[in-house]
């Protein structure tokens, strides 16, 4: 009985995974590529910093590599959030999926969970790629420190996955949702100085890169803006719930 129950849910997870698999793998390749690229080109990049004492590798990683990787990651998870029932509607399979004895809530919760896990895995890709690429160019970067950046990115940046998830429930087509998602990204990062004055939690890029918590000397993360992360996660949750509620009322 329990076994049957688990198999049933297993199939729901499996389908959700199959539907996001291609995007996830493409995103993983992209994030890995950018991570490797920023490290491999670090020699040239570091040379451009004309300061005394000269910039260290770890400092360079914190100042330049992290935010480049994060930009790619943020865009990737935004697009990972797209799809779902609205895409199925466009494809014509929504009638079948929704005629199954599985509630919309469950479909959405499963997609959110799978996507969150995928986002987390994607966040960990640089944690492996950076140390590995560093070794390759004859430098070292501690995995533990890289993992800290990954953790911060994941916690603070889940809201971007949620944004893609939200737009994909509101808008009828993948392209429209992608467009709105991109627009949201643009507005978030360009308007943040203005918003930051009124809503400190909106300092997204500050939050993501942990700029205020990077130790100047070592270039490693020391501590974290917990309230900022909490606010970001809360926003992510709100977006998930809003998307689910909107989907409840939709005609498919």
């Amino acid at each position: 009985m329990i076994c049957h129950h688990m198999i049933r849910h297993n199939k729901i997870w499996h389908k959700t995974w199959l539907e996001s698999r291609t995007r996830f793998l493409a995103a993983a390749v992209l994030v890995a590529a950018i991570s490797v690229w920023v490290i491999v080109s670090s020699e040239r990049g570091m040379a451009r910093f004309d300061i005394r004492p000269p910039i260290t590798f770890a400092q360079y990683v914190a100042m330049v590599c992290v935010w480049r990787i994060e930009l790619v990651w943020v865009a990737a998870v935004l697009f990972l959030g797209l799809g779902g029932l609205m895409r199925e509607r466009a494809l014509g399979t929504a009638a079948y999926t929704l005629s199954l004895p599985v509630s919309r809530r469950r479909w959405m919760a499963t997609r959110a969970a799978v996507g969150a896990v995928e986002s987390g895995i994607l966040a960990l890709v640089p944690a492996i790629a950076i140390p590995a690429a560093s070794l390759w160019i004859g430098r070292t970067y501690p995995v533990a420190e890289a993992v800290k950046f990954s953790g911060l990115m994941m916690a603070a940046g889940l809201v971007f996955f949620a944004t893609g998830f939200f737009w994909s429930s509101v808008l009828p087509s993948d392209y429209a949702a992608a467009g709105m998602g991109a627009l949201s990204l643009y507005l978030t990062f360009t308007s943040q100085d203005y918003l930051y004055r009124w809503f400190p939690a909106f300092g997204m890029s500050r939050l993501l890169s942990g700029a205020e918590y990077v130790n100047r000397a070592t270039g490693f993360l020391q501590g974290c803006d917990w309230s900022g992360v909490a606010a970001s996660l809360a926003t992510a949750l709100a977006l998930f719930l809003a998307a689910t509620q909107i989907m409840q009322l939709r005609d498919l």
């Binding site: 297993n10 929704l98 409840q248 005609d251």
Partner: protein, 317 residues
Amino acid sequence: MIIETHDLVKMYRRSVAVDGLNLAVPEGSITGFLGPNGSGKTTTIKMLLGLVRPTSGEGFVFSEPIAEDRASVAIRSRTAYVSEDKRLYSYMTARQILDFTRPLYPNWSRRRERELLLRFNLPLDRKFSGFSKGMRTKLALVLALARSAPLLILDEPSEGLDPIATEHMLVAVIQAAAEGATVFFSTHQISQVERVADRVIILQSGRLVLEGSLEDLRARYRRIHLAFPMRAPVEEMQLDGVCKASSQGHVVSLLADGHLEEITGHAHAMGAISVTVEPVGLRELFLESVDEPCSTGVPACVEVEEEPHDLSSHDPS
């Protein structure tokens, strides 16, 4: 009643898809759901399954309210649906889709799945994207019929099927009905309804224009041809029981629902030289019902068996 709706309405921004629909589908019956394109059949079915939210009114399947989330899941666990689109996951093979669907239905019959797969001869390991229209319908039918669900809702179940496959489909549907399932199928194939169905529901512009058991309809309706020596006095033939009256030259053609004796008696009194009474097939009944409501001003003969209910847009005179 397995399916019941009360004044079900669905409005989109500029149009009314379903306009105050009252359905009653008895358990164990085979009901054909007919209507021209755009009459609201698919929308009605989607509302019953929770894919579309009714604007107003209510509906019940297995006595569960269709508009409530949890109830809708319960309904769907006992319903087999073949959608109009019959589109499935293009990235899965037929086998994978079956494996995916099977665990969701505890009463799934492996035996019936095998039988149907054999009969329809489907390539199990081909990706769905490589399926032709007919193959898609066949797979959808297997997925639906193997569930052993007490309610089958089929939207155009013979779409894309050659005559042999259509026959297999009808036999499989009848098998399910013989085992106690209720069948509700929407189609343009009037001949299929005539053959297989116990009851028929005809929709037009979102409203019910005809409903009843096929036998009842066959027993009640008659086409009467009256030949007169001179111009046919069609206005004088609009009596009780006459649904439609038309004339061509000196012949009057009536569609009558009862009161045959009075009508033929009156015709004789008016000087008719010949009276021919013929049965009316479903196709003719369908065409007459959805043609125009009542161009002659005579109320359309629509009746619901269980309760007296005026479903036409005109007041009965």
